[in-house]
């Protein structure tokens, strides 16, 4: 059962996006954020907000359940890391399985976006 993701929308009209779209994109977003290095939860949420230019924000009540779900599926691996002089933090990194899923979801998303462009765009076949 996939959790229903609540994404705070600011500029985009909420009614324009259905639940399934939000659900699918949230996982892709998280997986791509941690693609290149491990990050902790707050860093992930700040990066999402900054890279989307404030369009997307993940609240605490939706971000961490999503991280835990991805961890349960084996797409992310969470680990407590203690650096000298600092409190320990939980970092998340992509697993091999997560990389495969990320690649697959990217491919699907690209195809979907292309299809949407073709259907809704100026150019007609």
């Amino acid at each position: 059962m996939l959790a229903i993701t609540y994404v705070a929308m600011t500029a985009i009209d909420r009614r324009m996006l259905d639940r399934e779209l939000k659900k699918g994109s949230a996982e892709l977003i998280i997986l791509s954020i941690v693609e290149h290095r491990a990050r902790h939860g707050y860093e992930i949420s700040r990066l999402i907000e900054s890279r989307s230019a404030g369009q997307l924000k993940f609240h605490i009540a939706s971000l961490y359940p999503l991280l835990y779900r991805l961890e349960e599926r084996g797409w992310l691996q969470g680990r407590w890391v203690e650096k000298p002089g600092q409190r320990r933090r939980r970092f998340y990194r992509l697993t091999a399985e997560g990389r495969r899923v990320l690649a697959s979801q990217r491919h699907t998303w690209k195809a979907f976006v292309t299809a949407m462009r073709l259907i809704t765009g100026v150019d007609h076949a």
């Binding site: 959790a3 609540y6 902790h40 009540a61 961490y64």
Partner: protein
């Protein structure tokens, strides 16, 4: 979790209530709170760095938690939120118990689906477990029995000298009065009485007891009252009796009016005052005593042994030398055993110093104390040997049965490979599979065990319905299936299930997944693994069954040998019966007259050639032992006189002695070798005479004739008796004893009060039983005549144990052979069915059917020969332990070993031939298509 910052503490207060609904484990909740608190801390620090004040930063940070239920709602779908803490922390056993219930139901379904296999397995197990249960019921009835007395930890048998030694009554009184460490000491003596309850006299085994006997043992009556100290006051003044519960049920039909009933004991009037409780059969285990009378009635109820007549009636309550009393004492709770013994030793020593004539230099005897639970050590050792032998036999049968069923299970597991492979692939652990398979085995075994209990019950009831003849077995016991036996059967069933199930279960739970999932069946490539295990089991079965067959063969040969024994008397034509006139206190004159009359009456009966009397009954096992001195030879040994002792062989100072009536040797068919028989001239007023058997003559007069020489059996001072004849040896105490030296003395010169009548018949001996009984009852109605038997029946009684042993071992050996043959057949059949393709290829390639047939036979017989080799080796070793049970056959008897091997091989050949015929009947086309 590290100490939270001051701000984190308020986050915790916000976060915890939002997670409460999930009921996470405390550790998991703490982790989540720590992580989320850090997020809020980071947010707060960022806002503060951006210029917000504390309250503002806190308010904005907490906006992320505006929706109070959002966190719980989003987390609810996660697995960690669904597992309740109690289940996560509970020990795995709870899950295991639920699994057992499921496994049992599944196992029952599997067994129902294959009725043929289930029936075969249950029957096999029933035979194995039933036999073991029956043997355990024997162990339960003998070795595990305890005297039903109160506080047995403080009860001890007290013996004079070594264990089994008895006291005279005055010695017993000393022990009783001086035993300060005891709360009480009671005494008893064994008696055999004539009991007449109105119709006829019968012999009853009983005990004569002191007044405190029942009280000391803590026995309570089933009816009426038991004997007490008030019945132990004046000699001859207490004609009361207590009977056993069994006797009350069988002889008096359990009637309530038995209390107060008048009976005649040894011709005298007594009254029954009580019934002993059920389960109490006397002061010693293994004896079946049915009558209890007061010690003060000794003169009537416990006469001296033969040698005394009515005139000479020494008062055994006063005679210091006549030893016949057993003693039992209850030790005080604070007394020490060593001190108690020392007290008794001192008391007995004092008695001997003051009232007995001790030879110079001799020391008085000491005492022995044995806990009542140890009972008769010699008897227990005998029973233990028999129980071990029987237990070993039925245990081997059960092992063979287990091997058979294990083989069956291994075959079935091969058919279930796919099912088990799928379950493993779906994530079932191996342990789980093994648990389920073992549950099936144990369930099967418990069902077989229940059937086995029914079989054991039938065996026990059969034994009770046809009990051994009196004297056939050395002890009396009552077989029954009681709760202890049932518990044994249950335990054995469970263990059996594990034994035959564990290897197939471990094997089956480890299939090679890919071929199993593909459903690949056996092919040419299938060798080793399961098949080797099955072959090993067959080899073990063959070895075990050969072991049993060999033991059975030795017992059968032994029985044949004993049957072929030349007894030295003409047993086919003899009838015997005991004449216990000592019970009636005949005077010497009365006794002589009685013997004369009974012999005369017997000889007048049609079909009787001659009759005689003898003091020692043939094959009774016990004898009178006397010292022997040859006149003119120096000797240093003293006089010895012992009654009812085991036969003595190999001691030249002692001899077995018999007193016989006129025409004894003629009646018994014992030929005279030299000299003469006793005759009318050998009377009381003439010089005493004596006859030797050949062994006695050879021992004492080797190389010369004993006729005319004189010997004494009454001590070195005489009386000297002239040897008038030598007779051939004949069997004396038992069938299996040879070289027994015996002397015979004439009744006319040595009066006896207890004789056995022997009658030589020219008709079928059994036809004389009723006429003889009539003659005796007419002559003396108060004389019990318990057992008039043709001598062939007496021999049968003495052979009862050997016959029973041969029958039991033969039955179990045959059963083991059957099971082994079935096992061989099963393994070969399975092998053929798995090698159908191979057979088909061979035949298709032109192999001769005859060759294929021999191939299969060879495969099977190789296993058998291996089993035979192992069985022969262990059989030779094990047979050594059977030596004590065998007569006339050595433990390495070649005909026995050759015969059993031949029998086993012949049966195995048949078992191999059937699947071999099937193999050559395989159609190559069908076989090659099959995959």
């Amino acid at each position: 979790m590290p100490d939270p910052s001051p701000s984190s503490r308020s986050w915790i207060d916000q976060l915890r209530p939002r997670l409460a609904a999930l009921r996470l484990s405390p550790a998991r909740e703490a982790e989540i709170i720590e992580e989320l608190s850090q997020h809020l801390d980071d947010r707060y620090e960022e806002l503060r760095a951006a210029g917000s004040d504390d309250a503002e930063a806190r308010r904005i940070a907490l906006e992320e938690l505006d929706d109070h239920d959002a966190l719980a709602r989003h987390m609810r779908a996660l697995r960690q939120a669904h597992v309740p803490p109690s289940a996560v922390e509970a020990p795995p056993r709870l899950g295991g118990l639920r699994d057992v219930g499921h496994d049992l139901r599944y196992a029952a379904r599997m067994l129902r689906k294959q009725p043929g296999f289930t029936l075969a397995a249950v029957l096999t197990l029933a035979l194995g477990i039933g036999a073991n249960t029956a043997v355990f019921s024997l162990v339960n009835a003998t070795l595990l029995q305890r005297l039903p007395v109160a506080d047995r930890a403080h009860l001890f048998y007290i013996y004079r000298g070594n264990v089994g030694g008895v006291f005279s009554y005055p010695q017993f009184e000393t022990v009783r009065d001086y035993g300060r460490s005891f709360d009480g000491v009671a005494g008893w003596g064994g008696i055999t009485a004539s009991l007449n309850a109105g119709d006829s006299a019968e012999l009853v085994s009983g005990v004569i007891v002191t007044g405190n006997f029942f009280d000391l043992l803590g026995i309570r009556p089933a009816r009426g009252r038991l004997l007490s100290t008030s019945d132990d006051v004046t000699p001859g003044a207490h004609p009361v009796a207590v009977i056993s519960y069994d006797f009350w049920q069988t002889r008096f039909a359990g009637r309530s009016d038995v209390i107060g009933r008048d009976i005649r004991l040894n011709g005298h009037a007594f009254t029954i005052v009580g019934v002993a409780p059920a389960g109490f059969s006397g002061p010693q285990l293994g004896g079946a005593r049915h009558l209890y009378v007061p010690m003060m009635m000794q003169a009537i109820m416990r006469p001296p042994r033969a040698g005394y007549s009515g005139e000479q009636n020494p008062d055994l309550l006063k005679n210091p030398t006549n030893s016949w009393i057993f003693a039992v004492g209850r030790l005080k709770t604070d007394a020490r055993l060593a001190e108690a013994r020392a007290e008794l030793d001192a008391a007995i020593a004092e008695f001997f110093r003051t009232r007995m004539k001790l030879p110079p230099g001799a020391s008085p005897p000491r005492t022995s104390m044995v806990p009542v639970d140890e009972g008769n050590a010699g008897q227990r050792q005998q029973i233990r040997s028999v129980a071990l032998l029987l237990g070993g036999v039925v245990g081997a049968v059960l092992l063979i049965a287990c091997a058979n069923i294990a083989n069956l299970l291994l075959s079935k597991a091969a058919a279930r490979q796919r099912e088990l492979a799928v379950r493993l692939a779906l994530g079932a652990s191996r342990g789980r599979l093994v648990q389920q398979l073992l549950t099936e085995s144990v369930l099967l075994s418990v069902i077989g065990g229940a059937a086995g209990v029914a079989l054991a019950w039938a065996l026990v009831e059969g034994f009770r319905a046809a009990p051994p003849p009196a004297g056939g077995l050395p002890i009396a016991f009552d077989l029954s299936i009681d709760p202890r036996v049932l518990f044994f059967a249950l335990l054995l069933s469970c263990m059996t299930g594990i034994v035959f199930g564990v290897v197939p279960a471990l094997n089956a739970s480890r299939p090679v997944l890919v071929p199993a999932l593909k459903g690949a069946s056996g092919s040419v490539a299938e060798r080793g693994g399961r098949l080797d295990l099955k072959k090993m089991l067959v080899v073990a079965e063959v070895a075990l069954s050969l072991l049993l067959l060999t033991a059975a063969g030795l017992f059968v040969r032994s029985l044949q040998s004993t049957r072929a024994i030349d007894t030295g008397v003409d047993v086919e034509r003899l009838v015997s019966l005991p004449l216990n006139i000592n019970l009636l206190r005949y005077t010497r004159v009365q006794g002589r007259e009685f013997y004369r009359q009974i012999v005369e009456r017997a000889e007048r009966l049609p079909g009787v050639e001659s009759a005689t009397v003898s003091r020692i009954a043939m094959l009774a096992g016990t004898t009178r032992i006397l010292s022997v001195h040859v006149e003119g030879r120096a000797a240093s040994h003293d006089q010895v006189y012992s009654e009812n002792s085991p036969v003595v062989i190999g001691d030249p100072t002692l001899i077995n002695a018999n007193v016989v009536g006129p025409r004894f040797f003629k009646t018994m068919g014992i030929p005279l070798l030299s000299g003469r028989d006793f005759d009318e001239t050998d009377t009381e007023d003439r010089p005493p005479v004596i006859i030797l058997n050949a062994t006695a003559a050879a021992i004492h007069f080797a190389g010369s004739t004993p006729i005319g020489s004189r010997i004494s059996v009454g001590g070195p001072q005489g009386p000297w008796r002239e040897i008038v004849g030598v007779v051939r040896d004949s069997k004396y105490g038992s069938l299996t004893q040879d070289g027994v030296p015996v002397v015979y003395m004439p009744l006319a010169q040595n009066h006896e009060t207890g004789m056995t009548l022997y009658v030589r018949a020219s008709v079928a001996p059994a036809s004389l039983v009723s006429p003889l009984r009539r003659e005796i009852q007419e002559l003396e109605p108060n004389l019990p005549v318990p057992a008039i038997m043709p001598m062939t029946q007496t021999m049968g009684t003495s052979l009862y144990a050997a016959r029973m042993g041969a029958w039991l071992l033969g039955t179990f050996g045959g059963l083991a052979l059957l099971l082994a043959v079935v096992g061989i057949y099963g393994v070969l059949s399975f092998s053929i069915s798995r090698r159908t393709r191979e057979m088909g290829i061979r035949l298709a390639l032109g192999a001769d059917r005859h060759h294929v047939f021999l191939l299969v036979i060879r495969d099977g017989m190789l296993l058998v020969m291996l089993g035979v080799l192992i069985g022969l080796g262990t059989g030779l070793a094990a047979a050594r332990s059977l030596g004590a049970f065998l007569y006339g056959v050595s433990t390495t008897d070649v005909p026995t070993f050759v015969g059993t091997v031949a029998l086993l091989c012949a049966a195995a050949l048949v078992a191999c031939a059937i699947p071999a015929r099937r193999a050559i009947g395989v159609s190559p086309v069908t076989a090659l298509r099959q995959e």
